[in-house]
């Protein structure tokens, strides 16, 4: 019980303060518009009316927290995921679940591709000196290139050669989740100390045996740390990949259309949905991490 109050209370207080600041900021930023409207109609507004109006504007500069919450509720629980159209059951583009799914599918596919190829490359780097010396410096250098900023071009180019839909988006997320996995996995595969390696040598273990019985298990904690970074990066990649081609579905598309039509509430709810997706994905990985490490006897 004390552990819960000790850990949860500060977080609740901080979140409470953030929400309070948010309300104050919403009042401040939306006030000008309300006053402007009242002046044009030649009306006087009382302080109370001014406050309520800033909290319930249709296109506020900064929507109040409850407006975002209501929009989130209406577009998730309030809308069916599928609707009947011309005798067919089709996904309902008003449902935020549908957009989240449109973003999550390429994210997960890209994450799987990125992780597998990252692990494969890491194994090659650890076991081949030439690979290590050629690939590793370029892998690190490519991290310094703002790939996310370039992602839109890749999408447009792939579009031009007829690749549309799931694949181009997942290529971007694969690319972004690829490098954290390579770096973490290489570090992990190299983490067994000289003593452990010597011990296996006294057992006259082969390279393959050393890999399966020592290096791979030792790399697991590093791998999970990288996977958590990688999946968040993959999600950001998919969202950015949705921006340039004017995609109609997905969280990135919601952001873009919201920005075109000044629908700030829609932007904020898409942003929160993306945040929720990231949090859920990372915590699922965290759960898998804890279970795996406990089974391997590695948890602390």
């Amino acid at each position: 019980m004390r552990r819960i109050t000790g850990a949860v209370l500060p977080v609740l207080v901080v979140v409470g303060v953030i929400v309070a600041i948010w309300y104050a900021a919403a009042y401040n930023m939306n006030r000008a518009w309300t006053l402007d409207q009242a002046e044009r109609r030649g009306l006087e507004v009382s302080a109370g009316e001014l406050f309520t109006d800033t909290m319930w504007q249709e296109r506020p500069r900064l929507p109040a927290p409850h407006q975002v919450a209501i929009e989130l509720w209406n577009t998730t629980a309030g809308e069916a995921m599928f609707r009947e159209r011309r005798g067919e059951l089709r996904p309902n583009p008003r449902s935020l679940w549908f957009h989240a799914f449109q973003t999550l599918a390429p994210t997960l596919l890209g994450f799987v591709i990125g992780t597998l190829s990252g692990m494969f490359l890491a194994v090659a780097i650890v076991h081949n000196r030439a690979m290590d010396m050629s690939v590793m410096p370029w892998a690190i250098a490519s991290q310094t290139i703002p790939i996310l900023a370039i992602a839109p071009i890749v999408i447009v180019v792939l579009n031009a050669i007829g690749l549309v839909g799931l694949v181009p988006k997942s290529l971007i997320s694969a690319y972004l989740s690829f490098f954290p996995v390579v770096v973490g996995m290489v570090k992990g595969l190299r983490s067994p100390g000289a003593m452990d390696l010597d011990l296996l040598r006294t057992y006259s273990a082969s390279r393959a045996e050393t890999f399966w019985k020592l290096r791979l298990p030792a790399s697991v904690p590093f791998l999970f740390a990288s996977l958590k970074v990688g999946i968040a990066a993959a999600l950001v990649g998919t969202i950015v990949a949705e921006l340039p081609t004017g995609a109609r579905f997905g969280l990135g598309a919601r952001l873009l259309t919201g920005s075109y039509y000044g629908q700030t509430i829609q932007i904020w709810s898409a942003l929160f949905m993306a945040a929720l997706c990231a949090a859920v994905l990372v915590s699922i990985l965290g759960f898998v991490e804890r279970t795996t490490l406990r089974r391997m006897g590695l948890d602390r």
């Binding site: 500069r61 410096p137 310094t144 000289a194 969202i239 932007i267 942003l271 949090a279």
Partner: protein, 295 residues
């Protein structure tokens, strides 16, 4: 060796162009493998350079031999020509996006985050409350805030600075707070027995021990800053800037110019990262990660 030659011959029966590419790749790889194995003097630099040059050569050859349309992928030589021909434009974009947007936001965001970390460091309550929230927000797609911030601050550089500040703040904060906690209780007690006050402890003990974490944050943020500034320009910008130019040139299908902008972004990103790594090497030479031990 024999296997490689056989593979080239077999592919040559199907398509001589693919065989040529394969031969170049295998040849360069054999050279690299030999240099790595024989520990030739300067191999640490030569091997990656040869690898990079091989990739560029393969790219150039592939585009020329398979006659790839320049709309899809221009050859490196075409990109270099576009780069040389458009240096004034590239420079203006560089100043607008990197110097006025990314760099200003980087310095501001990292500075504010550092000051916030100092404040958080003095309060255990804030540490327990703000860090989980900070970690959560650091994992969010902050790029998504770009349309909102562009709406608030207009199309000029100030909205890009705002996006960059939002993007670098939390990663830097989390690293700085973590770094501030690095000094041991025993070291702090020692400073206490010296009757050192808060500022002396901060300057002589805690900042130096926090240094590796601070630099880690600075290095992560150097790329984030560029990403933020360029992506924000996709949501609206004056008629100058790298994000704007990329959007326009993609529309005109002038891919060589787009890749020239990418080259500028890559150079700027590597430069900033390299600068941070160099400073780190100078300032934290004592840290174990800089000892040259091969595992």
């Amino acid at each position: 060796m024999g296997g490689a030659v056989l593979a080239v011959v077999l592919v040559a029966i199907l398509d001589w162009r693919a065989a040529l590419l394969l031969a170049v790749w295998l040849g360069a790889w054999a050279l690299n493998a030999w240099m790595a194995q024989a520990s030739v003097a300067g191999a640490r630099i030569l091997v990656p350079v040869v690898f990079g040059l091989t990739l560029l050569t393969l790219w150039e050859l592939a585009v020329r031999l398979f006659e790839v349309s320049p709309v899809i992928l221009p050859a490196p030589s075409a990109i270099a020509l576009a780069f040389a021909a458009n240096i004034p434009t590239l420079w203006v974009d560089f100043v607008q996006t990197i110097l006025r947007g990314a760099l200003v936001g980087y310095v501001l965001g990292c500075g504010i985050a550092f000051l916030a970390a100092l404040a958080i460091d003095r309060s255990a309550f804030l540490q327990k409350g703000l860090l989980p929230v900070g970690n959560f927000i650091a994992a969010l797609p902050i790029v998504g805030t770009a349309p909102i911030l562009v709406m608030w601050y207009g199309f000029g550089p100030s909205s890009k600075v705002a996006v960059v500040v939002a993007m670098v703040f939390f990663p830097m904060l989390v690293n700085a707070v973590q770094g501030m906690k690095e000094s041991d209780a025993i070291q702090r007690d020692l400073m206490h027995t010296y009757a050192a006050n808060y500022w002396q402890t901060l300057l002589k003990l805690r900042l130096p021990t926090a240094m590796p974490f601070l630099f880690n944050g600075l290095k992560i943020c150097s790329t984030l800053a560029l990403i933020g500034a360029i992506v924000a320009e996709f949501f609206g910008s004056p008629t100058v800037g790298m994000g704007f130019r990329i959007k326009i040139e993609v529309g005109r299908l002038a891919m060589d110019m787009v890749w020239a902008e990418i080259t500028v972004a890559a150079l700027a990103g590597s430069g900033l990262y390299g600068l941070m790594a160099l400073m780190e090497r100078q300032l934290t030479f004592w840290h174990p990660s800089h000892r040259s031990v091969r595992n």
